[in-house]
């Protein structure tokens, strides 16, 4: 707990009454969001389909521009960053991890160092070390000389994650990182993120579908519904039965995970009790 109090003073990402809507359509996809991503925590953004999770994520990455409000990163408005400087602050693990051309794994991970490199410059010793560390952390160092086209979905996910880690940013955004992984790799990936977070005190923001993944590994949950933040706070406080019913429109049994002591959520239909 001491650690948490200390970190709360660190600057993070402040979202200040952020609204976004597609140009022609005046219905807001994001409606006056307010929240703070503090440094050193793992945040899970959850919510049903169409609740605005992805749009929110795109705003944080500056893929789209807020219509109203602003996002402030380290006390500077996100829109005022130069592209390369922003790429040194926020990294993305995209949802679509399929790479069609036959780059080598090490080439792909090395791409994470591009924001730090001058045009045509070779990889520096620091670049190589960061790349290697990222590959070791995500357990893909052994794959370094393979072509990415030969990899399984799980392996590809780990490589793309390694690239984002090699980017050495204080904030890491993951778009449904576990959706294409089997159980083992889901757990391994989330544990790698926890480990990364312990060591470097990064801010990790993961858009998640799996409530139990969020419950297990996230310190903070932002729950979204209809373009608004429904609730926001510590995992246990947000993931209550009332909140979940309200947001997902299904009922939940809440059990306890005997190994970790954390909550485990079992959904069932409100009407039929199956």
């Amino acid at each position: 707990m001491k650690k948490e109090i200390k970190q709360a003073k660190e600057p993070g990402i402040l979202v200040d009454s952020l609204s976004w809507y597609p140009k022609k359509d005046k219905n807001p996809i994001l409606d006056k969001l307010n929240c703070l991503f503090e440094k050193g925590y793992i945040y899970g953004i959850i919510g049903p389909n169409g609740s605005g999770k992805t749009s929110f994520m795109k705003n944080i990455l500056r893929f789209i521009e807020p219509e109203e409000g602003k996002i402030v990163l380290d006390e500077i408005n996100l829109m005022n960053y130069k592209r390369k400087d922003l790429a040194k602050k926020i990294a993305l693990v995209p949802q679509n991890i399929r790479i069609e051309s036959s780059f080598l794994v090490k080439d792909i991970v090395m791409m994470g160092r591009i924001p730090y490199q001058k045009r045509f410059a070779d990889a520096s010793e620091i670049d190589r070390e960061k790349v290697k560390k990222a590959m070791l952390l995500t357990d893909c160092y052994e794959l370094r000389d393979k072509s990415v086209t030969t990899l399984s979905g799980g392996e590809a996910q780990r490589i793309v994650t390694a690239r984002a880690i090699a980017q050495d940013t204080q904030c890491l955004v993951l778009d449904e990182p576990t959706s294409s992984l089997d159980v083992k790799h889901q757990i391994e990936l989330m544990q790698a993120l926890v480990k990364l977070n312990e060591k470097k005190e990064k801010t990790i923001i993961a858009v998640l579908h799996d409530i139990n993944m969020a419950a297990q590994y996230c310190n903070r949950i932002i729950m979204m519904k209809n373009g608004r933040i429904h609730s926001n706070g510590k995992t246990e406080e947000v993931l209550t039965r009332e909140n979940l019913i309200d947001v997902y429109d299904v009922d939940f049994d809440i059990l306890e995970n005997p190994r970790t002591g954390k909550k485990y959520y079992v959904p069932f239909s409100k009407d039929k009790k199956v």
């Binding site: 790479i99 780059f103 070779d122 290697k132």
Partner: protein
């Protein structure tokens, strides 16, 4: 403890690329010399080598040309060399644009003609042939001039239509290019039905030929090719990342929209220049980059320069065959590129079945 491993990991510059470049440049030079010696007036390879070297400043003065007849000097330097160099430049330009487009649009079927530029050129050329206006631009002749501006106009239209706000979605570009291209082709067909007498001329132009090569045209194309290749190679890292995904590229600090625009502009200029001097030569821009990718790998830093050299070699060989195989008449070079290239391409595909095209 693992310093050696770290260093191994960092060996990113493919030292093989340097060798490939060197080997391909030697082959290119051999092709130029051999091609210069082939033709209706037969020269020995050593004679054509002497003639070419004699034109190199300082060094050339030491070469003794007294044994070679004046007429051969003129044939090699005034007739064959411009044609060989023009073919080389067209091959180089089309291949490098094809390679860049395949990466930029993340589509293995992309080729230099995908933006509809060539159809615009063909329509321009057709109009010039039918109207018979006398107009010249940089030694291009009236047909070339019309083709060049037809191509640029088409590229501009395709670009304007496929823009959505400040974005340039790949699907829009490809579909607009194909649609405009089809429409322009039917306009050409329509024009031809009204002008039966010109059908053959238009048809032959669209098949591509280098028979009208001059030093002026070589210079014209050289300027475009150097600029285009330079700009594309400058963006090779960005192209690498864009190949792996648009979002990834954006999150790595790359302005994908700006890069798309720049590449589309220089590529359109390059293709317009190529088509206006040679007609529409298919296949090179599609297949040479794939062939090169099989030896160089997908990194554009190696792929783009090697495509330049490879495209030039291939085009010079094709043109040499085109002007010699059925002498004294000529085969359109576009026919040769496809007939020669396809079997080789299929052979490479079979050999690389594991890796696939990309």
């Amino acid at each position: 403890m693992n310093t050696r491993k770290i260093i191994n990991l960092g060996k990113y510059v493919n030292s093989k690329d340097m060798w490939y470049k060197l080997i391909l440049i030697i082959i290119l030079f051999m092709c130029i010399v051999i091609s210069a010696s082939l033709g209706s007036a037969d020269l020995s390879v050593s004679d054509s080598l002497k003639i070419i070297f004699s034109r190199i400043p300082y060094f050339g003065k030491r070469i003794d040309l007294s044994e070679i007849a004046e007429v051969y000097l003129r044939i090699v330097w005034q007739i064959r060399m411009p044609r060989i160099l023009l073919a080389g430049l067209v091959g180089c330009g089309l291949s490098v644009v094809g390679a860049a487009f395949q990466g930029l649009f993340r589509n293995p079927l992309a080729d230099p003609h995908i933006l509809g530029v060539s159809s615009g050129a063909a329509l321009g050329a057709t109009l010039a042939m039918l109207s018979g206006i006398g107009l010249h631009f940089f030694g291009l002749g009236v047909i070339g001039t019309f083709a060049f501006f037809g191509a640029l106009l088409t590229a501009f239209i395709v670009y304007q239509i496929s823009c959505v706000g400040s974005k340039l979605p790949v699907v829009n570009i490809l579909l607009t290019g194909t649609a405009i291209s089809t429409m322009l082709s039917s306009v050409i067909s329509l024009l031809m039905t009204f002008h039966h007498d010109k059908i053959e001329k238009v048809f032959l132009w669209t098949m591509g030929t280098f028979s009208a090569a001059t030093w002026d045209r070589v210079l014209f194309l050289f300027i475009f090719t150097v600029t285009c290749c330079g700009v594309l190679i400058l963006f090779s890292t960005e192209l690498d990342v864009i190949t792996t995904g648009n979002d990834t590229a954006e999150s790595l600090g790359i302005n994908t929209v700006r890069i798309k625009k720049i590449i589309m502009i220089v590529a359109s200029l390059q293709v317009a220049a190529c088509v206006s001097v040679s007609g529409i030569i298919g296949f090179v821009g599609l297949v040479i980059p794939h062939c090169i990718r099989m030896i160089s790998g997908p990194r554009h830093k190696g792929l783009l320069p090697l495509s330049c050299i490879g495209g030039a070699i291939f085009m010079i060989i094709c043109d040499t065959i085109a002007r010699n195989a059925a002498a004294p008449s000529e085969i359109p070079v576009g026919v040769i590129t496809a007939m020669l290239g396809t079997p080789y391409f299929i052979y490479l595909l079979q050999r690389n079945k594991k890796g696939g095209l990309s």
